[in-house]
C-alpha cells in the first residue's frame, strides 16, 4: 500500500483551527465575565430526556444507551424507558430539595409519546432545550442537508408547541453533528448549542444563518460517561464533581466566574441506589456561598451582556 501525495498536504496548517465555526481561544485569554450577585461558579445542570426506539438502527454508530442485545431487547429498551417513567421524578425531587433549576435536553419523541411527562416537566419549571427527535435520529455527515434541516425544525416545533418560545437551545443526540447541524440550528431561530466539549466557558459560533452561543454541556462530568460507560461508583462520580468544583472555584474571581457543568440522565442517576449520593452532592454544592444555580439561558444572558462578540 502506498499513500497518495496529498497525504502530505496540510491545507489548514496556519494560525487558528481547521474549520470556520469559531476561532481558537485559550484559557489565559478568556474574557472576564461576572455572574449575578458576585457568585464565582455557575452550576449548570443538564438533564437528558431521551427516547430510544426498540427497533433503532444505531446508524451510523450506536449512541451511549443504544440497543445492544438482539431485537426485541427488552433488556435495553425497558431500562431506558424506566428513566422517563420513574427515574426522572427522583431527579426532580432531588434538584428541588437542593433549590436548583435544571436545563432539560428534551427529545421530541419522548414528549409526543408521553404527554404526562411533558406536563410534569412544564410544572417543574425546568428550562427546556431541544435535543433532536430521538436517539435513533442522529445528526451526521451522511444526512441530506434538507432532511437534516427538517429534523431540527420538527424537533423545535414539537417542543415549542408544548413548552412555548422559551425553547432556545439545542443539544444533538450523542453530541453528534454533521457539517450542517449548527447552521440548521441557527436557521431554526435558536440561541445556543451544546455539543462540543472543548471548553469550560461559553464562546461564540459563527454560521451562515447567524451566530450561536456554544455552552459547555458536560460529557466528561456526566453520569452516562462516568457511571454507565466507565462503570465507576456513584461516590466516584460525586468525588469527580467536587474535585471539578474546587478547581474552578480556585480559578474564578468575583469579576471572572466559571461554569461547573454536570449532566444527569434519568435512566442512569435516577436509580434508587444512586439517589442518596446525588442528594448529598447537590446539597454540598448548593451550600457553597459562591455557587449560582444557572440554566442555559441564564448563562447565555450573562455571557452576551458581558463578553465581546
Amino acid at each position: 500500500m502506498t499513500l497518495p501525495p496529498d497525504y502530505f498536504d496540510y491545507p489548514y496548517r496556519g494560525p487558528g483551527l481547521d474549520h470556520a465555526w469559531f476561532g481558537h481561544r485559550e484559557a489565559p485569554g478568556l474574557p472576564a465575565i461576572a455572574w449575578p450577585g458576585g457568585k464565582r461558579v455557575a452550576l449548570f445542570v443538564c438533564v437528558h430526556v431521551q427516547h430510544f426506539p426498540m427497533d433503532m438502527r444505531n446508524t451510523p454508530f450506536r449512541p451511549t444507551g443504544g440497543m445492544e442485545r438482539p431485537y426485541p431487547s427488552y433488556w435495553d429498551y425497558t431500562r431506558r424507558d424506566y428513566g422517563n417513567r420513574v427515574g426522572i421524578f427522583r431527579l426532580m425531587r432531588a434538584l428541588d430539595q437542593a433549590g436548583m433549576r435544571a436545563t432539560a435536553l428534551v427529545q421530541a419523541a419522548a414528549m409526543s409519546r408521553y404527554p404526562a411527562l411533558a406536563a410534569a416537566i412544564a410544572r417543574q419549571g425546568w428550562e427546556v432545550a431541544a435535543a433532536g427527535l430521538d436517539m435513533d435520529q442522529l445528526h451526521y455527515a451522511g444526512l441530506d442537508p434538507a432532511a437534516e434541516r427538517a429534523m431540527v425544525a420538527d424537533a423545535v416545533r414539537v417542543l415549542r408547541e408544548i413548552f412555548g418560545p422559551g425553547v432556545v437551545g439545542w443539544h444533538s443526540p450523542a453530541h453528534s453533528q454533521s457539517d450542517q447541524t449548527m447552521q440548521a440550528v441557527a436557521e431554526a431561530g435558536l440561541d445556543w448549542v451544546g455539543d462540543w466539549v472543548n471548553d469550560d466557558m461559553p464562546y461564540q459560533v459563527t454560521t451562515a444563518a447567524g451566530p450561536l452561543t456554544a455552552l459547555p454541556v458536560a460529557w466528561e462530568l456526566s453520569d452516562q460517561r462516568i457511571l454507565f460507560e466507565q462503570h465507576q461508583s456513584t461516590a466516584e462520580f460525586a468525588d469527580a464533581v467536587l474535585r471539578a468544583f474546587h478547581t474552578l472555584d480556585a480559578e474564578a474571581t468575583v469579576d471572572s466566574g466559571r461554569v461547573l457543568a454536570v449532566t444527569l440522565t434519568p435512566w442512569v442517576m435516577g436509580q434508587p441506589h444512586r439517589i442518596p449520593e446525588l442528594v448529598r452532592l447537590l446539597h454540598t454544592l448548593m451550600a457553597q456561598p459562591d455557587v449560582w444555580s444557572a440554566t442555559a439561558s441564564d448563562l447565555v444572558r450573562a455571557w452576551r451582556s458581558a463578553a465581546p462578540a
Binding site: S176, D200, A240
Partner: protein, 309 residues
C-alpha cells in the same frame, strides 16, 4: 511482516551494568506532555482510521481540542508549581496553529521532541523517503519556533513501519520512545548510526488509564505512585527511568488536575530523584553507559543457547 521488531536483542534485567544518574540519583523521572492536533477531517490512511465515528466526529475532536484551549494551561501551571519541566511530544502543526502554547513551553524551558506533524497523519504505509521528509519538516519547525534541535521521537499515535527506527538513526535522532520493552534506556540495533530507546509508558499514561481502563482520579494517583515507589526502590540497585506521559485534554480537566498535583508532590518529596528531560536522560546514557550496555548485550547474545527441539 516480521515476527519481532528486529531493533533490540534480549537483555535480562539482572546482571546489567549499574546505572547511576547525575548527583547519585536512583531514578530519572521525566514528564512527557503530548501536545497534539487532531484534524477534524483527516485524510484516510488505509491501515488505521482515526475517529470512532464518521467525520466530523465532533465529540472526539472537541474533547481533544479541550487540551489546547483549557487543559494545557492548567497542566503547565501545575507542573511549574512543582518545578517539573516537560518534554513535549509535539505534533509540530501546533506551532503553526497555536503558537502561544509553544511560547509558553519555551518560557518554561521545556524540551520539544517529535510526535509527527499531526496526530492524524500516521506513518503507516509511508516510504522511507516520505518519513525522511516528515522528520525534516519536524526538525525545521521545532528549530524555527524554539531554536531547539530535534533529538527525540514518538511516532504520531505510535504508528510505525518496519523501517522507521533505521530512518530515525540515519536522520540523527538520538532517542526513540515507541519501544516499550524496558525500564532502562537501551541501545537499539539499527543498520547505521546509533539510536537508543528511552522508557515511555502506556501503563501510567493518562490515555489508557482514564479512557481505556476507566480510572477515577483517585485510582490514577494510586497506580502512578505505586509505579514510582517500585521503580524508586529498584533504583537503589541500578538507576531506573519513569516516564509520566500526559495529555492535557485528560489530565487538564478540572476534576483531574488535583491528581497530577498529588503525583508530583509525591515524586518531588523524595531524595535521589533526577527531574530530567528526555534529552538529558539520553545524553547521560550515551556519555556514561552506551558502550557498557552495548558490550553487555553483545556478550549476552554470545552465550551458548540451549538446543531447540
Amino acid at each position: 511482516m516480521r515476527a519481532d521488531t528486529g531493533f533490540y536483542r534480549y537483555a535480562a534485567y539482572s546482571g546489567r551494568p549499574r546505572i547511576v544518574w547525575p548527583g547519585g540519583a536512583r531514578i530519572a523521572f521525566w514528564v512527557a506532555p503530548n501536545i497534539e492536533f487532531y484534524e477534524l477531517n483527516p485524510p484516510r490512511n488505509p491501515t488505521r482510521s482515526i475517529w470512532g465515528r464518521p467525520a466530523p466526529d465532533v465529540l472526539a475532536y472537541s474533547h481533544r481540542d479541550y487540551g489546547n484551549r483549557a487543559g494545557f494551561w492548567r497542566m503547565a501551571e501545575m507542573m511549574a508549581r512543582h518545578g517539573v519541566r516537560g518534554s513535549v511530544s509535539l505534533n509540530v502543526a501546533v506551532c503553526d496553529h497555536m503558537p502561544a502554547i509553544i511560547e509558553r513551553c519555551c518560557e518554561l524551558e521545556w524540551e520539544l521532541f517529535s510526535h509527527g506533524v499531526y496526530n492524524t497523519r500516521l506513518l503507516y504505509n509511508m516510504t522511507e523517503q516520505q518519513q525522511r521528509d516528515v522528520i525534516g519538516d519536524v526538525r525545521r519547525t521545532i528549530r524555527r519556533c524554539s531554536g531547539q534541535e530535534l533529538d527525540g521521537w514518538l511516532s504520531p499515535a505510535l504508528s510505525n513501519t518496519d523501517a522507521t527506527h533505521h530512518v530515525l538513526a540515519e536522520e540523527g535522532i538520538k532517542y526513540a520512545l515507541d519501544l516499550l520493552h524496558d525500564d532502562q534506556p537501551m541501545p537499539l540495533q539499527v543498520r547505521s548510526g546509533r539510536l537508543i530507546s528511552v522508557p515511555y509508558s502506556l501503563e501510567v499514561n493518562d490515555v489508557p488509564l482514564f479512557n481505556m481502563r476507566d480510572s477515577s482520579p483517585e485510582r490514577y494517583v494510586s497506580i502512578v505512585t505505586a509505579q514510582f515507589d517500585q521503580l524508586y526502590a529498584e533504583g537503589a540497585e541500578s538507576g531506573t527511568v519513569m516516564c509520566l506521559p500526559l495529555h492535557p485534554f485528560l489530565i487538564g480537566q478540572p476534576h483531574r488536575i488535583a491528581a497530577l498535583d498529588a503525583v508530583l508532590a509525591h515524586v518531588t518529596r523524595h531524595d535521589g530523584v533526577w527531574l530530567a528531560t528526555g534529552r538529558e536522560i539520553a545524553d547521560w546514557f550515551y556519555d556514561h553507559y552506551y558502550d557498557d550496555f552495548a558490550g553487555f548485550i553483545a556478550a549476552s547474545d554470545e552465550t551458548p543457547r540451549a538446543p531447540v527441539q
